[in-house]
């Protein structure tokens, strides 16, 4: 019998399984993404009280049984981000952050920096007003932590910088970053980026560690453009649409 392991974790999803069990997907600090079975979770309040719902920060104790599902022995609530379920707007944002964490993390792949970023993201949403700055910063840093950092300061092909280089710059999904007007000619997978969106994204990249709330001084159009370019890029990388993305628009206030 292997010894139980413990790790801080964030609940990403949970599903009912059979009469009384739940399958839960976690982002853990020390084992990447894990899926486990919580036996009796639908009936027993004691072992899993309140701790298996999405967005919860927990201390997970589990038995690793080779590949596949781990066996969840216990799950202790460390912090419940209460305000994340207080409004539709917050639920939509927290769901989007959680789905991003899910699709951009790997199973059993230790990535404590990515875990910390997701935890900070949920804590920030819990304590602050929602905004496109927070969304775009969360997206960009998560991309970088999962190895998909887009190139934003120079043209991905000819290395020209966009500052002082007038014309229509674009974001290319295939090249994973911005392309100058010359290099993006005749390409259909690109989408234009305004100069102020380019500057916004560069500032986002520079911000490291804290959510850059001061960037809300950027025009609303630029912030939205930046977020949409990153969303498109994420969906391109994972090869599917994010289920929670439409709710950001529908439920935002």
């Amino acid at each position: 019998m292997p010894a139980p392991l413990t790790t801080p974790a964030i609940v990403l999803r949970s599903w009912s399984f059979g009469e009384s069990d739940k399958i839960v997907s976690f982002l853990t600090e020390s084992h990447g993404k894990l899926r486990g079975i919580a036996k009796g979770a639908k009936r027993s309040r004691k072992r899993f009280a309140n701790s298996l719902e999405p967005f919860s920060l927990v201390n997970l104790r589990f038995l690793d049984r080779t590949a596949g599902l781990v066996f969840i022995q216990g799950c202790e609530l460390v912090q419940v981000f209460k305000r994340l379920t207080a409004t539709l707007d917050k639920i939509a944002h927290a769901s989007y952050f959680t789905e991003l964490a899910d699709v951009l993390s790997n199973e059993r792949d230790e990535n404590p920096a990515l875990f910390a970023h997701v935890r900070n993201g949920l804590a920030f949403l819990d304590a602050n007003e929602t905004s496109e700055v927070a969304i775009a910063y969360f997206e960009l840093k998560l991309l970088s932590l999962s190895g998909y950092q887009p190139g934003l300061d120079h043209c991905r092909r000819c290395r020209a910088g966009w500052r002082g280089n007038a014309g229509r710059w674009n974001f290319s999904l295939r090249d994973g970053g911005v392309l100058c007007p010359g290099c993006s000619a005749f390409r259909r997978e690109v989408a234009p980026l305004s100069p102020s969106a380019l500057e916004f994204m560069e500032e986002l990249e520079r911000a490291n560690g804290e959510f850059p709330v001061h960037l809300s001084s950027f025009p609303a159009d630029a912030r939205r453009e930046g977020h949409l370019a990153l969303l498109r890029f994420i969906q391109y990388q994972i090869g599917k649409e994010l289920k929670s993305a439409p709710f950001l628009d529908a439920f935002s206030t």
Binding site: S14, S20, A41, R45, F48, L52, I91, S95, Y96, S244
Partner: protein, 206 residues
């Protein structure tokens, strides 16, 4: 399973589609049935077949309802048809099994509406996938004064409650949520009748 006679293989295949039943358990059940009398097996088969034939969804509340044979009208459940129920209150639940759990608590004497699911951003389920339009239709014609949202205490249950409140309040309806004494992530179906009764008493406006 490869060497079993075809009728046995077929039954095992059907049984193993049931929740929580693997192929091994399905095999055990099939062999058990094989030993039963013909009458017993017939009774089981009969009641399985009648389930779908005689049970439908109530055309008003979408709870389970017995379909009257030979009745061309739309099915109406016993609760919607009961003149003693308080008609100005509608309790909104996720599934028919939740309706039964609330009934068991004997705390509530109003009407119901079953959504058949919840809003879920993580699963991509929006309001249009649920029986919300039908609820709005009832509210405007039936003289309803209070909607009691009894969705489960989960993220999706909360999202659904908040959406209903946002949509119904402008119509002048009081929207209440059953008390938060229920554990987060819990399930109405598995909540004991006393706790559920208290949650109804302690409901508050959202």
């Amino acid at each position: 399973m490869a060497n079993y006679p075809a009728p046995l293989t077929r039954l095992i295949k059907e049984l193993s589609k049931l929740p929580g039943i693997g192929e091994k358990t399905a095999g055990r059940l099939a062999f058990h049935l094989l030993k039963e009398s013909a009458e017993e097996v017939q009774a089981l088969a009969e009641s399985v077949a009648r389930l779908k034939r005689e049970l439908g969804l109530c055309a008003t509340c979408f709870g389970l309802s017995e379909v009257q044979p030979g009745n061309g009208d739309q099915p109406q459940c016993g609760i919607c048809g009961d003149p003693r129920r308080e008609r100005e209150k509608i309790c909104v639940v996720e599934e028919p099994s939740d309706l039964m759990a609330v009934e068991k608590s004997q705390e509530y004497r109003g009407l119901y509406h079953v959504l058949h699911g919840t809003i879920s951003p993580l699963d991509g389920v929006g309001p249009d996938a649920l029986r919300i339009k039908e609820l709005l239709g009832r509210v405007t014609v039936e003289g309803v004064r209070e909607i009691i949202v009894a969705t489960n205490p989960t993220v999706d249950g909360e999202a659904t409650a908040l959406y209903l409140s946002k949509t119904l309040k402008p119509l002048g309806i009081t929207v209440t949520r059953i008390a938060r004494g229920l554990p987060m992530g819990g399930d109405l179906e598995y909540t004991d009748a006393v706790t559920l009764g208290k949650a109804f008493e302690g409901r508050r406006e959202i």
